[in-house]
């Protein structure tokens, strides 16, 4: 009974340890306290039930009851009796909590805050696991099975985190499981009684078992196999190999990994723009004739070190979304439909959409954040996605925008769009907005400041920071690219007390055919969005149009460099062969600048699959080599032996004048040692051939007896083969036992004859095996392996014997009387 109680406590503690991985999910550790309470209640109730000698099902019921009480006390609905006894209202409350937890799971991301529904779910799960672990450990005495529910806890952070999971909580959980196993086994041994070694010596309780060494060895081998085996499987190391093989350099590959909240969009942007190669990223088809930029991210959190993306939060995409602001005069709205195909090169937890999407046709667990207008997922990646959506394109008339009033100070956006104070920026904004009465005019003044005539120019080679000092530097140097233009304008606008943020996406790109635009990494772009009360987020692209391939300008934010040429009403593109603006091809300009100015390392290339296919090829080649190795080695051996025998037919050192190769006198003249070696080679070859063709070989049989047996049993009617094999036998016995080893006849033809007879006499399977996987070679290899392992074992034995002398256990043993 005492042991059971101990085991129950260990089970409870192991459950709590196994729950350690959850610490990676929650922001705070409230869950741990509550779970501890629940588990403690379960363990206490189980101990009480066992004390009362309740049957196993009774124990389970008691534990479940205890868990219910604990949950009632922890998550009260207010209608409980005495605070702990659940009423129907409590159950209803639990149901509501469970339902809400589903919603919370979707909306929150790691690390999640302490919300009641999530805490309830966690405590319920851990309490349930505690019940299961207790049942399996104490009730069924199968603690190994308890690993399964414990493993279920492990899977939660693995499922939530896409890439990295902190390892320490897992180690803690594993330690808990091992503790459980060890406690159970120690308990078993104790119940068994005294322990003895093989020679009858008693082993004290504290002393290691004599089998412990074997157990340690087994465990070490098991762990080594578990760690190394997956490495040997090509598919399981794909991640690692891809990273080595593709070399994404500093590009989005590195920065783009992680969940939506973890992406550093700025560095992704700069990395991609700096890529030497042009990679197709997205293909978009829309029925809008001149679409604006496709966008996939927003950076609206501004600290002194720059803009960063706020973790998006939203709801699943399976419903229709309304427009962000109501219709009003001055906003022209029309609804369009777009289809997007993302290639493998664009791999992010975000999907590009046009601003203000209203309906999605999209598979997978994606959510839409209407505030940031971002389509995101915590589990999935954008790579190779294809989806459709409908969106509303809004255009604003400058006149209407001028009517926008300043945002009320209590508006929630105000809090989100505060800007750190930088004196230089403040001074510049004051100077620019002086005399501007409306919000829109202020923004326009700031926007206009980034014109080429003010000395601003485009270059990718600058440092990409968006921090306060970097913005000031940019405003001074006036050289930068979209990132700095967008961030600087957003910063300035915020400094003018108007909400602004940086949007990320693709410029329009090139039309491939019909309504399809192909967007490459060169189309990646950033621009500014400014919030006008009653109008919503209005885009402004301050980057010089010549630096952006497929730049789109609008009435409210026209191309500053082309201001003299009156822009057409409505949106227009400045890109294209006949584009206005600077007149140079934007792509060329950008590339030229990049080549001239940048000494920066550019990415080494696009991510490709060549790494893994190369690995496969090597693997296949190695396999092929391994499969054909016996046959190759066998044929090499045969060639060597044949080559050896060749001089036997025409012996060296003898005048060949008139003597035929079969001349007995000449054979006698030949070197006896060589003749012996030849005969041995021929005999070895014969034996190997016999083994290859599944003929029996007996080490106790004399060559003569072997030859007679073959002649009698195998080659019965084949007189040629019979005489050939007898010749080989005779040559071998002469070589071995006679003073004069010359058989008088060449052996090579005899060997060929015997082989031909064996081939003719065996079935197809034997022939195939003899050709592809010669048994003689396999035997030889097996023998070599056996010899090597025997040598290893004997040297290990010697080593053991040498080290055993110094083993403390041996000294202990000597002290014990036998």
């Amino acid at each position: 009974m005492i042991s059971q109680r101990n085991l129950g406590l260990v089970a409870a503690a192991a459950t709590l340890l196994a729950a350690a991985p959850l610490s990676a999910i929650f922001d705070r550790s409230t869950w741990l306290f509550q779970s501890t309470i629940a588990v403690a209640v379960v363990a206490a109730v189980a101990a009480l039930a066992r004390l009362g000698r309740a049957p196993r099902w009774g124990q389970v019921l008691a534990m479940l009851g205890g868990l219910l009480l604990a949950l009632t006390w922890l998550f009260p609905s207010g209608a409980e009796l005495l605070g702990v006894v659940p009423t129907p209202a409590t159950i209803g409350h639990f149901g509501a909590l469970a339902e809400a937890s589903l919603v919370d799971m979707r909306t929150h991301r790691v690390r999640v805050p302490d919300t009641d529904p999530l805490l309830f779910l966690t405590v319920l799960s851990i309490g349930g696991i505690a019940v299961l672990v207790d049942l399996m450990t104490v009730g069924l005495r199968r603690p190994a099975l308890a690993g399964l529910p414990m493993l279920a806890v492990y899977s939660v952070p693995v499922a939530v985190y896409v890439d990295s999971v902190p390892p320490l909580p897992f180690v803690i959980g594993a330690a808990g499981y091992l503790w459980l196993l060890a406690a159970d086994n120690v308990d078993r041994v104790r119940r068994f009684g005294r322990r003895f070694t093989g020679d009858g010596r008693g082993v004290d309780g504290w002393e290691a078992s004599p089998l412990a060494a074997a157990g340690r060895r087994l465990a070490a081998v098991g762990v080594a196999v578990a760690v190394l085996l997956p490495l040997a499987v090509p598919g399981m190391t794909g991640d690692l190999l891809d990273r080595f093989g593709s070399g994404t350099g500093e590009g989005a590959g590195g920065a783009g990994r992680g969940t939506a909240s973890q992406v550093d969009l700025f560095s992704a942007l700069q990395g991609q723009l700096n890529q030497g190669e042009v990679t197709d990223m997205v293909k978009v088809t829309t029925n809008e004739s001149e679409p604006f930029y496709l966008r996939f991210g927003t950076a609206d959190q501004l600290r002194s070190d720059g803009f960063r993306a706020r973790p998006p939060s939203g709801t699943a995409v399976n419903r229709e979304f309304g427009p962000t602001v109501p219709d009003r005069e001055g906003i022209t709205r029309s609804r369009y439909r777009a289809t997007v195909e993302v290639t493998e090169s664009f791999d992010m937890p975000l999907l590009p959409v046009y601003a203000e999407p209203v309906q999605f046709k999209l598979n997978g667990r994606w959510s839409y954040d209407p505030n940031q207008q971002v389509l995101f997922s915590n589990r999935e990646r954008s790579s190779s996605k294809r989806y459709e959506f409908e969106y509303v394109r809004s255009t604003y008339s400058p006149t209407a925008l001028r009517q926008a009033r300043p945002l009320p100070t209590e508006h929630s956006l105000r809090r989100q769009t505060a800007a750190p104070t930088v004196p230089e920026v403040e001074a510049l904004v004051d100077e620019l907005t002086q005399g501007q009465s409306t919000e829109f005019d202020k923004v326009r003044a700031i926007y206009d400041h980034f014109a080429t005539e003010n000395g601003f120019s485009y270059a990718l080679s600058t440092e990409g920071g968006t921090g306060g000092q970097e913005i000031v530097d940019f405003l001074t140097n006036k050289v930068g690219f979209c990132q700095q233009y967008a961030a600087a304008m957003a910063w300035l606008v915020r400094a003018a007390d108007i909400p602004a943020r940086v949007a990320f996406g693709f410029s329009t790109g090139t039309k491939s055919d019909g309504d399809t635009y192909v967007l490459t990494n060169r189309n990646l772009h950033a621009w500014t969005e400014v919030y006008f009360d009653g109008f919503g987020w209005v885009p402004f692209d301050a980057t010089p149009a010549y630096g952006v391939s497929g730049s789109v300008r609008s009435d409210w934010a026209p191309d500053l460099d082309a201001e003299e040429e009156e822009v057409t009403p409505g949106p227009s593109t400045t890109a294209g062969p006949a584009g206005s603006g600077s007149g140079t091809n934007p792509n060329q300009a950008e590339e030229g600048l990049e080549e001239e100015l940048s000494g920066q390392p550019s990415g080494t290339g696009t991510p490709t699959r060549t790494g893994s296919s190369w690995l496969w090829a090597v693997g296949a080649l190695a396999l092929l080599l391994l499969l054909t190795a016996p046959a190759l080695q066998r044929s090499a051996l045969r060639r060597r032996r044949s080559g050896r025998r060749m001089p036997s037919a025409v012996p060296a050192g003898v005048a060949t004048g008139g003597a035929s190769s079969g001349d007995h006198r000449m054979m006698v003249l030949a070197d006896a040692d060589r003749a012996r070696a030849d005969a041995h080679a021929a005999w070895d070859e014969l034996l190997d051939t016999l083994v290859d063709f599944r003929q029996q070989i007996n080490g106790a049989e004399t060559p003569r007896a072997t030859a007679s047996r073959l002649a009698r049993d195998t080659f019965r009617a084949d007189t040629e083969a019979t005489s050939a094999v007898r010749l080989l036998g005779r040559a071998e016995e002469l070589a071995r036992y006679a003073p004069d080893p010359h058989p008088g006849e060449p052996l090579l033809p005899a060997l060929r004859r015997v082989r031909a007879a064996l081939v003719a006499g065996s079935d197809r399977r034997t022939r195939l095996l003899a050709a592809a996987l010669p048994p003689s070679m396999v035997l030889r290899w097996r023998g070599a392996v056996a010899d090597a392992s025997a040598r290893l074992m004997s040297s290990y034995g010697r080593f053991r014997a040498a080290t055993l002398r110094w083993s403390p256990r041996r000294l202990l043993t000597d002290r014990h009387p036998r």
Partner: protein, 350 residues
């Protein structure tokens, strides 16, 4: 009866001549013993190997006849001793008799003073008498009253015994058995041979008409030739391994002696020479293992209970002992190199 030293014997015979002489003797004997070529050859080989022959079989299969035919085929002195329970050692070796004329003791040679001594039913004599043969057979000399008399060359004892009839017999002691080079069994003749025997032996005794085809000096030359036969080192090792195997076999209480090794190799030389070879083959050793070794060894009680005879035990050993190979350690070598150096006799199936 002049004694000839070995130096007087001529040099090495050509193989053909050796073989011709051997064949002649065998053919001659076969006139009497039909259909037993191998047995006859073995008997001759034992003679040429300077050994002694023990013929063991049931009565009436021609044991004595073989011995007598061998003796007759060679023109040399032959004595026959019928071993009986009252035979005395002096009857075998000889005795000193007081000569009244010379007033001195005079040695009267016993039956062993001949080239060929046929001992019939040797196990019927008392062990005392049997023991009289020990010195003669091994040392080829007789010592009587402190005087040693050398025996003639060639000297061979051909003894017969009946293994079935045990009453009134004295089994040969181990020491005596070890002195016989080979033990052969005649075996029943096959039907054809028996029929021929009825025809030939019906009217006259063929033994009467048997004429010698060789003489003692020729046999001495043959013996000298046999000593020259080449034995490869590997074969010497093989012979030692074979004999060692009998000493280590779990079925055997007593293995073969070093004398057995010597005689095995010597007989193998004779067999090889009779086949016209100037070198010994492992096949010779294998064929001789049972006749040369089986009668010297004693099986354990377990083996006897399991009805395993010494013949089958030796044959089994021969079948399992791998051949030594000088030129390589074969990949199909069945001998693992263990610490004790003992061979394991289970062949691995290839």
């Amino acid at each position: 009866m002049t004694q000839q030293t070995r130096d007087e014997v001529g040099g090495l015979l050509p193989h053909d001549e050796f073989r011709a002489v051997g064949d002649a003797i065998v053919t001659n004997i076969e006139q009497v013993i039909e259909g037993k070529t191998a047995t006859v050859q073995l008997a001759l080989a034992v003679l040429l190997a300077e050994g002694h022959l023990l013929i063991e079989d049931v009565p009436g299969v021609g044991k004595t006849k073989l011995a007598k035919a061998l003796a007759r085929s060679i023109d040399c002195s032959v004595r026959r001793i019928q071993f009986t329970p009252d035979l005395l050692p002096s009857d075998v070796t000889g005795v000193s008799v007081y000569n009244q004329e010379t007033h001195d003791f005079e040695f009267r040679p016993g039956a062993v003073f001949a080239n060929l001594v046929v001992g019939d039913e040797i196990n019927r004599a008392s062990p005392k008498t049997q023991s009289a043969l020990l010195e003669c057979m091994e040392e080829r000399q007789v010592t009587v009253d402190g005087v040693t008399y050398p025996l003639q060359t060639p000297f061979m004892v051909v003894a017969t015994q009946n293994p079935i009839e045990m009453e009134g017999t004295y089994p040969l002691p181990e020491a005596q058995r070890d002195r016989f080079t080979a033990r052969i069994a005649m075996g029943y003749p096959d039907a054809g041979a028996e029929l021929a025997m009825l025809d030939g032996h019906g009217a006259t005794d063929p033994l009467e008409s048997l004429r010698p085809v060789s003489d003692a000096s020729t046999v001495r030359r043959l013996i000298t030739h046999v000593r020259q036969i080449h034995v490869a080192d590997a074969l010497k090792r093989y012979a030692v391994e074979l004999v060692t195997a009998t000493r280590e076999a779990p079925d055997l209480r007593l293995g073969a002696s070093p004398r057995a090794t010597l005689q095995l190799l010597r007989t193998a030389r004779a067999v090889a020479a009779l086949e016209g070879r100037d070198y010994v083959l492992p096949d010779d050793l294998q064929a001789l293992a049972v006749p040369v070794l089986a009668h010297r060894i004693i099986p354990t009680a377990d083996a006897q209970l399991a009805r395993r005879t010494t013949d089958t035990i030796v044959a089994d050993l021969v079948h399992r002992l791998p051949l030594p190979q000088e030129h390589r350690r074969s990949s199909y070598d069945t001998r693992p190199t263990t610490d004790s150096g003992r061979a394991r006799y289970e062949p691995r199936r290839a």
